[in-house]
Amino acid sequence: MPGDVGFCPMTADPASPSGAVSSPTPRGATNASGLGKAASSGPPTAALRRLPADYWSLVIRPKTGWFDLHLGDLWRYRDLVMLFVRRDFVSQYKQTILGPLWFIIQPLLTTLTFTVIFGNIAQLSTDGLPKILFYLSGITAWSYFADCLTKTSETFNANASIFGKVYFPRLAVPVSIVISNLIRFGIQLGVFLGFYSYFLVRGTAIHPTQALWLMPLLVLLMAALGLGSGIIVSSLTTRYRDLRFLVQFGVQLLMYSTPVVYPLAKVPDHYRWIMVVNPMTSIIETFRHALLGTGVLDWRQLGYTGAATAVLLGAGVLLFNHVEKTFMDTV
């Protein structure tokens, strides 16, 4: 993304990469004539007294550096994050009687559809696994990521009213979304484990592997990936509304480039690079490997995913932080 394009409400010409107001480096005020000078206009002309920089607990400036992150704030507001999680869960739950049941019905119906369409009609391989387990495992994992991505991508737009009234670290909202999605993921995982035990009892050739210990890491990676991409999209949509539509069908298309409805092993070589580039691929594959014993544990792929996630999350946090200061003027 060229320079500061698009995020400075004060530039008269918003889209000129060369004409951005300033590069991200100047940390001080744009008029840097120091403390103690008399106000240039207005009757109260008594000079502001000079005070050492460490006297102040907070300085509000026009532009802070990209790396001025205030992550300590987020920790201080951790109670708020948990209250948001609680609020989201309670208000969803309270709306309908069927509420929590939808968490179960939706993946089951999707699995059924996939089994019929992809498994039976299209006859796609399921890598030797019972179709239901194959699809359900993919859907359970994918849903968590997709949920995190779509919900966090609306952060700025959906919360514009509360953001406009009070300060709290804006990251609290997407982080709370990622945490509250864990509840839904937990329920769906429970459903999966139900089917899993059924098949296990029936003597199917499935077994958990050592990679089971990696499960928490996988969940963490999915959360981070969803969070990172989601907040990038959210930051961009404060300025370009049309990106919201991209997210909606983009996530759908992304699913097809991930081995959710087909096994990676069966993908012909000249297409495989698409899946390999997709960081979710190794998560889904490892998820299946850990629980069902298919395929092999590919550390390099996983490492790539870890790196990609770190980059996306890092870029997302920087961008989000940059946008949160001025988005109220452009949203």
């Binding site: 008269a12 060369s18 008029n31 509000i60 300025r239």
Partner: protein, 445 residues
Amino acid sequence: MSVVIQVDRLSKQYRFGTVGGKRLVDDVNRWWARLRGKEDPLAKIGSEVNGHKQADSHANPPASGLRPPASDSFWALKDVSFEVKQGEVLGIIGRNGAGKSTLLKILSRVTAPTAGEVRVKGRIASLLEVGTGFNPELTGRENIFLNGAVLGMTKAEIRSRFDEIVSFSEVEQFIDTPVKRYSSGMTVRLAFAVAAHLEPEILIVDEVLAVGDIEFQKKCLGKMKAVAGQGRTVLFVSHNMAAVLGLCPKGALLVAGRLEMLGESSAVVDSYLKHNAAAVEGNGGLAQAANRSGDGRLRLTSFHVESTDGTRLTTILNGMDVVMALGFECRADCASAAMDVGISFASDQGSLLTVFYSSYVNQLFRNLSTGGQFRCVIRRFALAPGTYTVGAKITASGRDVDYPRDPIGQITVEAGNFYGTGSRGFEGRSGFLIEGEWSVAPAGN
């Protein structure tokens, strides 16, 4: 006394028009055109001048580091500088659009300044809206925690003050019902109760007293006074001059984004009123004032006060007979309409004191010529000493003909000989002087 807030040449610029509703396609087009050295394909005709200005300013930025504002933007705040010491209660007043809310938004870190700095020592809590973050599905109890956390309290802090909050809000019985079942008054009380127990070092309050009934407003003011009394610093924005004068010893006046005055609050309030009245004068007077409603058949053009012998007055002594003269011009067909002329007086705190329509004394004016003057004789002018703003309205058959929305002038009243006894009557800020007699009767009457 230590300084807790320093506002240093703070400025905030906003752009008009559809900011943010942009399309990626447009920006990409613009960027591509730039790259090829062509002119901006989406620029409006006539804005090339600005385009050039931008190029210049990029090469030679203005000394202050601020870009020349483009024609489609305005400065909500310009070079505002002031200091606030610990324990001060500062009232910030100004007309709508003067920049008060923008200043508070910047102090609350909801938006960033365009230029300048704000330095703060201590924790700030802002109350820009009552009930921020309230979720209607949650109970009152849950919302107290949520709202408190949003405002910056930790769970432990909220828990320790929970009982006080509930008793202040007077919704004890309903604390466990979902907030969507509350009346609006209950919601507001609960929300304010949470905010009132914030205990930050610096409290910023924006017009939240505009909601709620009189009792509630009194309670809120009382609580804010208590908070201020504990040595906390309070910044208070309001249009309610009585509240400002009652709560804030110091005031700041913002006019069109600039800090016009900072000082003792009654002086600042006076200046505010003068500005309001002057706004009418400044724009070419009442004749040119644009902020008015009515069908405009008749239009008020001037206002002045005279004594009965025709001398123009700037100050009135109570007790004297005065003439309020309203110049007018008749634009369209006034001949047939029966015009009802009304004049009003309001206190310097903004409360309406009295209205006097010509119809009250069975006077309606017909067959008016193209220009003239409505003259209202008021005998034994009965207002107590002070400054008052004057308003006027013309109606015909119940419909507004001309109604200037801003005050048409200001009058100053000083103690005169209302009682005819040589006593000047009450000279403090009161309202009216009334006529009567005192006597004594034995007990039991």
